[in-house]
């Protein structure tokens, strides 16, 4: 007795009329990516669903892999068996035994497309229900209105199919179906989480990182590449734009009063990010900001900083508490990397008491004495693009494999 296929349902996509085909194609690509280690499995699609034909691959391992693919609402593994009634009975019991969670109630719903089958739907429901009750005496009860498991039996000419278990998928929309945005990736705990949440809603993302040697170290850059590698889980690879930021940062320190340096730094980062966004034809900028978390993330600060661009700035974490964000970072497996203690573009040069309520007119006035345009253009020009594949080691790990 073997599991034959897995049924994949996509929730929200089915409601999107015109873009549907491109949505489904994107989802298909991502399921294929998730199935990369299961060579025998084949993916087919119909209007409402997709099917993974297992061809002998382990269904539980596959479900574990594709559960995380954005755009999948739910999954159901299905058994394929012969048309012998005893075999169907045994299979029904087996199906119950391999469920991923405990159930207390069930019902059987038979669909008979082959009318020559010796038992009709009622007889089938009765036979199988009775068999399960006898074998799971005291454990399972029948509930036809609201069962934990609706065991679906489909009798066809060529075989009988059993399904019914519904496993929740990650939800969301398929990667790339919402367009492209640039994620500002500092190396901290928040920005990678913001990246994952954006991808969940169908955004394709590229990362921007500000690098200020010698004020920030090679290690902080490696840390960012490690985080990008984690983000690459969704799509297989991730692009990181590394912006040389030393010169601008030094100029800010020289020209802007100390308690406004932070505000100005963020404004310039945003301007550069926007210029890169335009080059990459993306439509938004994503940050890991959470309201009131630090001085640059107060409402006044955001007002003064956001003023430099009119591009939408998406802040998926805006209403989350730090602990909630940490919880998600652990789930996405980025917390340990983010938690390494290297100076990054956000921590180095932090003034002792940055303005929590900076005034827009003031920061505009201070910046008016310096011509940043040329420097911004240079920084964009000199930005280095690195691409990292999922599973690739960024930190030079793996280069000394022969030592291990």
């Amino acid at each position: 007795m073997k599991f034959d296929h897995i049924i994949i349902r996509y929730g929200e996509i089915s409601t999107k009329k015109r873009n549907r085909k491109s949505f489904v194609d994107k989802l298909k690509n991502h399921i294929r990516w998730a199935l990369r280690d299961f060579k025998a499995a084949k993916l087919t699609a119909s209007r409402e669903r997709m099917y993974i034909i297992l061809n002998g691959e382990d269904h539980q391992k596959i479900i574990e892999q594709i559960k995380g693919v954005y755009g999948i609402q739910s999954l159901s593994p299905a058994l394929k068996i012969g048309r012998d009634i005893e075999e169907i009975k045994t299979a029904a019991l087996y199906y119950i035994d391999q469920l991923s969670g405990e159930i207390e109630t069930f019902k059987v719903s038979t669909k008979r497309s082959d009318k020559d089958f010796p038992y009709d739907t009622n007889e089938m429901n009765h036979l199988l229900g009775g068999h399960l009750l006898r074998n799971k005496d005291g454990i399972l009860k029948v509930d036809v209105k609201n069962p934990d498991l609706d065991l679906r039996v489909e009798v066809r000419k060529e075989a009988v199919y059993l399904s019914g278990e519904n496993i929740h998928g990650a939800g969301g929309l398929p990667f790339g179906s919402s367009g492209k945005a640039m994620l500002m990736l500092s190396g901290g705990i928040d920005s990678p989480v913001a990246g994952f949440l954006s991808m969940k809603r169908g955004l394709e993302i590229e990362c921007i990182h500000f690098y200020s040697p010698p004020f920030t170290s090679e290690r902080s850059k490696q840390k960012v590449m490690d985080l990008a590698e984690k983000l690459a889980l969704v799509n297989g690879s991730m692009k990181v734009h590394i912006v040389p930021f030393t010169e601008i940062q030094m100029l800010i320190q020289k020209q802007i009063p100390e308690n406004y340096t932070m505000t100005s730094t963020r404004r310039l980062m945003l301007r550069i990010a926007d210029a890169i966004r335009e080059k990459e034809e993306a439509l938004a900028i994503i940050t890991g900001e959470s309201l009131g978390q630090v001085a640059s993330q107060t409402m006044n600060s955001m007002f003064a900083i956001n003023e430099v661009i009119s591009t939408p700035v998406l802040r998926p974490l805006i209403a989350m508490d730090k602990l909630e964000i940490i919880e998600l970072a652990k789930q996405y497996d980025t917390f340990e990397i983010s938690n390494q203690p290297y100076e990054d573009c956000c921590t180095v040069f932090t003034p002792a008491s940055p303005k929590t309520k900076p005034k827009l007119e003031k920061v505009q006035y201070y910046e008016s004495f310096v011509d940043f345009d040329k420097l911004i253009a240079d920084a964009v020009e000199q930005t280095e693009i690195q691409k990292i594949r999922f599973g690739e080691k960024a930190t030079g790990e793996g280069q000394l494999e022969d030592l291990f």
């Binding site: 170290s217 090679e218 290690r219 490696q222 340990e336 930190t395 030079g396 790990e397 793996g398 000394l400 030592l403 291990f404």
Partner: protein
């Protein structure tokens, strides 16, 4: 030379020594240094930690490098006792633990902790029932070794872990120093909270070890200082040693997957051969670890026998190496059989995947010869 004392220590694999020398010469930086050399050393340490974690099927952050079994056991028992003393002051262990547990517990007794020492039966096993009865509301820790270092009895670790899942306030430490690579144990699913292993018992180097500490458990450190190893063990990391340990662990687990059958064959051949020799009493339990064979020759002092075999370049041991210099009597064998003469004449053979079947034949023959010679003299 026939080396049959692998539970005392093992000969480092040549590959392991290569790694140690290469890391020591080329990547000698301090992992805490900010420059590139430091970064390289740190990256090697991270990689070693990840490899050990992967091999043990646990998380990287749960692996703490130590100097070996004794430190691991001290850190686990004292660390838990001191971190959780507000919760209770009762600890349960067994009468046949390694000295690094036994002595540590005795020290804690002086500090006001209450220790229960579980008895073992004639097979060297503790009973889960006894353990259950010994549990109290103020019990904070149970520490049981997976494989006894003297006779090789395998304790019911999985069952104990299962029982203790019902007592979430009781933490479970396993001294797995003798078991690693020889007796399979899945740390993560067995309900184990802390687990000690030591590098030199699986062809790594002396002065290296690992303490597994499950995520979320507080352990109070033995050393304070530079806060290395996530504050649990201050002191500059022995990067070369830990890279060597990671490699030794990989090689050992690989050999264990390939050569487990050989180890069993060697044990069976030894047991059968020893059983045929009159005057020899086997102390190891029938279903014990595959690499430890313990026997007594009542009437003949173990030390004499050891030296007699040594003349033939056969290296075996009396009791555990750690206590064999102080006294020749084996507490473990005494606890199992309550027989002074038997405990006084204990010989332990301990093998590894590096031993071969032909060595067994030779050793058995020499044991017979030596016995004949000594029995004439020592009547």
């Amino acid at each position: 030379m026939i080396y049959f004392d692998n539970s005392a220590t093992t000969k480092p694999y040549p590959e392991v020594l290569d790694s140690f020398i290469k890391v020591s010469t080329e990547y000698f930086g301090n992992p805490s240094s900010l420059h590139g050399l430091g970064a390289k050393a740190e990256s090697l340490l991270t990689q070693a930690r990840r490899q050990v974690a992967d091999l043990l099927h646990v998380k990287s952050a749960e692996i703490y490098f130590t100097s070996g079994g004794t430190e691991g056991n001290n850190l686990a028992v004292k660390g838990i006792a001191h971190a959780y003393s507000k919760r209770g002051k009762h600890i349960i262990t067994t009468v046949m633990e390694h000295a690094s547990i036994k002595e540590t517990c005795q020290l804690l007794e002086e500090e006001g902790f209450d220790i229960t020492y579980l008895q073992v039966d004639s097979n060297g096993f503790v009973s889960v029932e006894d353990l259950k009865n010994a549990l109290r509301t103020d019990t904070i820790l149970v520490s049981v070794m997976s494989v006894n270092n003297e006779v090789g009895s395998i304790q019911p670790i999985v069952e104990i872990g299962h029982l203790l899942k019902e007592y979430p306030q009781v933490l479970f430490h396993v001294d797995h120093v003798q078991g690693i690579g020889k007796v399979p144990l899945d740390i993560a699913t067995a309900g184990i909270d802390l687990c000690t292993i030591s590098g030199h018992k699986f062809h790594g180097l002396k002065g290296t070890g690992v303490l597994y500490v499950r995520d979320g458990i507080r352990v109070s450190p033995l050393f304070t200082g530079g806060n290395q190893e996530a504050k649990l063990r201050s002191g500059t990391e022995n990067v070369a040693g830990f890279v060597a340990l990671a490699r030794a662990l990989r090689l050992t687990l690989q050999k264990s997957a390939q050569d487990y059958g050989k180890l069993i064959e060697i044990r069976d051949m030894l047991l059968n051969g020893l059983n045929e020799i009159t005057g020899v009493k086997i102390n190891s339990p029938l279903h014990g670890a595959p690499h430890i064979i313990n026997f007594s020759i009542p009437g003949i002092k173990s030390e004499v026998f050891i030296h007699a075999l040594e003349e033939k370049e056969i290296y075996v041991s009396t009791t555990s190496a750690c206590s064999s210099k102080k006294k020749s009597i084996s507490d473990t064998v005494l606890a199992m059989f309550h027989d002074q003469k038997r405990a006084d004449s204990v010989i332990r053979i301990s093998t590894s995947y590096e031993n071969e079947l032909y060595e067994v034949e030779f050793v058995l023959q020499e044991i017979k010869n030596t016995l004949l010679k000594l029995q004439k003299v020592m009547r």
